[in-house]
Symmetry: C2
């Protein structure tokens, strides 16, 4: 396998007639998917998503791709092709359009509707080009052909990018459910035709490459939900992803056949299902939907609440119901809660916390470990092999996955007969050139995590996150003295205080004389420089806390000169 | 179901002839298992374990049961019965013995050997009574009968506690593998005999109550390991729990049959396997074990490393191999790493981080989602029903589980025919009295989480953890001024600094004049009280940071008087 990482230098100039592929996100972590294609001086971007932070990124709201290599080439960008409407594929579009708001967005009807709703909140009206499966569009030197793919959101597309350098097929996210709810299967036949014409490079979704076998058809979820609806004596609350139109459709259908009414809860659920209905992706039986006010008139066994919060988000509708903080809904014994969603890695603690809170309140909680109330939207190993064997690409690059997924996918590619030296295993920022039918890593560009925290973007970096982790683990102890700026003598303090360190208010008493003593010694040695005094205080407090507590709080010494 | 929680008051005096059962841990979270039984003024404790902290307890090393209700009754404790040698059942023994070191410990040979090794590190030699399945022992007014149970550690026991109030059966942790490696199955026949004599209260392990069906027999793991060993071309590194003697035995056996040598790595692995071998629980073929020095002389395909670190612990042997920080072992393409263990909830992020690091380094990583290299040690729903139907207890109390597990187990008990009002669903600190054959929650005692952080126990509480979370999410901004203690006038500062807030060194410049202005206004209003000045500074900085950043760092104002 061709492997290359950050230790590589910047890439050489792209040879004439070559195609350059630069993943700026999506490789090494699941999220912030973004790939830049360059040909003949022009750029085409596929997807522009966000990554949600995990415990290693405390206090961070979102993680963006690093746009820095694009900023002086914004005018070269022909379009941003969006494969589907999930946040990890469209969430960073507003941040890129903030730099240049007339870059055209290309995608399917539902995808564009979701991104337009998102941009409307920021008062951006984008230039868009709606495409559908089978379409072929020229975007500068790039000719794009679109293929239907089946995923956990409607109207998803794969895209073939054709240039004089060859044909690249980017699957986006996909699975190959052979009995999808909407009958729109992944167009393996179309991709076979493309493969027979020659695919020089395949970029394919690796999320489930470690999982053996094939997905359970979506249609098997419906009967499981029906069973739950039949058995439930009280209210039913279903939580799912706010964009999983087919899962919501199944809940609506079960509610309808069991004589229950449905209220949608959560801002994103309401918005997305409104869009889905308007565009014909969601069929809502007449009179089925009710408002939260109308719900109050119904008996518990007539009620279904369709909510967000399947990932344990504490501020979501379900999260607030679990803690008893929801304005309208208080959990009661006899309620049934269904988490009809996958468990995104990193969210386990939060999700099980919510399940335990709901269980404590008396609800019966059904989740995917207990019953088949959800199937993944990503193709497992068996399906990935079908795709590899059908497309028969000359070169292959696993995308959309953590290292464990990328490597498992690379092994599948090799097992399917692609020579190991044509399987390109990359991480974010690696630059891959396709020249003369051969894909090779040629360099690396900056692809840092760009953190959004509150209103500011990019002022939170790795060293600051290390400080947060240190503060979060051990709190801090601050020590303050006042020195005379002329004589260098201590004229006030030391004052010691701490946060997150100890509940014992007398904890710091023993260290005060130690600081005074150390400062006296410093004065005797003629040391009056504030920086040196701070170091002395830091060392004195640090040694004391280590000896006495074996803890490592942050030590924050301050010298104020008067 | 009888449910009772912390809103209850302290329990009334125990009626004469009644048995009191107080779980001090293990209910509501998996860990720190400890149950106190009281009869006729005497106490018997079953298990005394620790809980490992999760993301909600940053910086905490261990969580202990709250011993406060026991401290003035230490002399009444007849014994601590230890059901098996896992940390969540024995880990808090040293902390309880620190209060009174002659409380007798009762347990099986292997369990006591592990707890003695732990106590030896603290120079405590405990009083012990070794028991084995079938034994019956009088411990004050409590007669204990012991039953073999099968679990993920050898020599585990269930205990029946007989008093004039009735018979209680406490399963400890168990599963009912019908083909265990050591042939020692859970003694369902013995428990059936006990049940036919009458069990008034069953306390039973709820960990897998949500999981349908039955465990896969341990013997099916061996062939899976054998396949991995046959296919591996390079070194094999297996990580498992350091007390899972049978899993290690399977690895030794596979190594032996594939002509590989084994080195044990990690302090606890070496210690526990030494004890297991000495006591006859682990059979090590002659010449199979080698030292890390001897490993260097072998080819990669002759090497097995048996390591700790299956839960993603960064400082464990495997954790350090993954980051390239291990003294002896650097991962290489071709290495195979097997995580032969369950994934303890809360550890997912850490475990997948290690798997990704190993994958990035080129290793093939096999874990339980990919191949059947581990089975749980806890009985799932099918087996719990067998136990319920065999023992036929009059009252039942689910133990050892989070709320979701306890409630699922309660439903199984009711499904098996126990009247709902005889299923006692409790949480830590609830007090259950068994009087005239009827178990009822009668009150609640203190059962706080007691945090160990470094050398100190109990000085870290919930409000302090909230401070740590706030600091960890947003860092802090400190603002310091010096005031004249006589005039109340500001004579130095304001100085502003921050940690974990922003990488921008000029970030605070705009807030300095705002603080000065606010303090000037305060001076004009005659405000000189340090406490009031601190509030003014806190408000000024807090408002500024919210307006400008929409962030909530901790604001730490300091007024030093000179």
């Amino acid at each position: 396998m061709t492997e290359a990482h950050a230790e590589l230098g910047p890439p050489p100039p792209l040879p004439k007639g070559g195609l350059r592929v630069t993943p700026l996100g999506g490789l090494g972590a699941i999220g912030r998917n973004m790939t830049v294609f360059e040909f003949d001086g022009k750029l085409l971007i596929v997807d522009c998503g966000v990554l949600f932070p995990d415990v290693d990124q405390p206090g961070v709201d979102l993680i963006l791709p690093d746009f820095s290599t694009l900023l002086d080439r914004l005018g070269d960008i022909q379009a941003i092709v969006l494969t589907h409407g999930h946040e990890d594929h469209i969430g960073a579009v507003p941040y890129l359009l903030a730099h240049k708001n007339d870059i055209p967005l290309v995608g399917s009807k539902f995808t564009l509707a979701l991104v337009e709703a998102k941009l409307a909140e920021r008062r951006i009206t984008p230039y868009t080009l709606t495409v559908t499966e089978g379409d072929q569009e020229r975007l500068g030197p790039f000719t794009c052909e679109f293929f239907a793919v089946n995923h956990s959101i409607p109207d998803a597309l794969a895209v073939a990018i054709k240039t004089d350098a060859g044909v690249v097929l980017h699957t986006g996210d996909f699975k190959m459910d052979q009995l999808p709810l909407d009958g729109r299967i992944t167009d393996l036949a179309g991709m076979a035709r493309l493969g027979s014409e020659g695919v020089d490079l395949l970029l394919s979704d690796s999320t489930n490459a470690e999982v053996p076998g094939f997905v359970t058809p979506e249609r098997q979820i419906g009967p499981v939900l029906d069973n739950i609806f039949r058995d439930a004596k009280g209210r039913i609350i279903v939580a799912s992803f706010a964009s999983h139109v087919h899962r919501v459709q199944q809940v609506l259908d079960s509610a309808q056949s069991h004589g229950r009414k449905v209220a949608l809860i959560g801002r994103s659920m309401l918005r997305n299902m409104g869009i889905a209905r308007d565009l014909g992706f969601l069929k809502i039986p007449q009179g089925l939907l009710v408002t939260m006010d109308e719900i109050r008139e119904l008996r518990p066994d007539q009620i279904v609440l369709m909510s967000t919060g399947s990932q344990g988000e504490p501020m979501s509708a379900l999260g607030r119901m679990a803690t008893g903080d929801h304005r309208h809904v208080t959990m009661e014994p006899g309620d049934t809660v269904v988490l009809a969603s996958s468990l995104v890695p990193g969210n386990e603690t939060a999700v099980f916390r919510v399940i335990n809170q709901l269980s404590r309140a008396g609800a019966i909680v059904v989740h995917k470990d207990v019953a088949k109330v959800h199937v993944s939207g990503h193709a497992p190993a068996g399906e990935l092999l079908y795709l590899l064997n059908t497309v028969k690409p000359t070169n292959m690059m696993p995308v959309h996955g953590e290292w464990r997924h990328l490597r498992a996918h690379a092994r599948l590619a090799i097992d399917s007969g692609i020579p190991a030296d044509r399987v390109v295993l990359c991480e974010d920022g690696d630059v891959v050139d396709l020249v003369n039918g051969r894909a090779k890593v040629v360099g690396h560009v900056k692809a840092r995590y760009v953190y959004v925290d509150g209103l500011a973007i990019g002022d939170v970096g790795e060293s600051l996150l290390t400080e947060r982790k240190m503060l979060g683990d051990g709190g801090f102890i601050s020590a303050t003295v006042v020195v005379d700026s002329v004589t260098g003598k201590v004229v006030g303090g030391p004052m010691v205080s701490a946060k997150g360190f100890s509940d014992d208010p007398a904890a710091f008493n023993p260290v005060l004389p130690l600081i005074t003593e150390a400062l006296d010694r410093a004065a005797a040695d003629g040391i009056g420089d504030p920086h040196q005094l701070q170091q002395i205080m830091r060392r004195t407090v640090g040694r004391w806390v280590n000896d006495k507590y074996r803890r490592r709080p942050m030590i924050v010494p301050t010298v104020v000169e008067v």
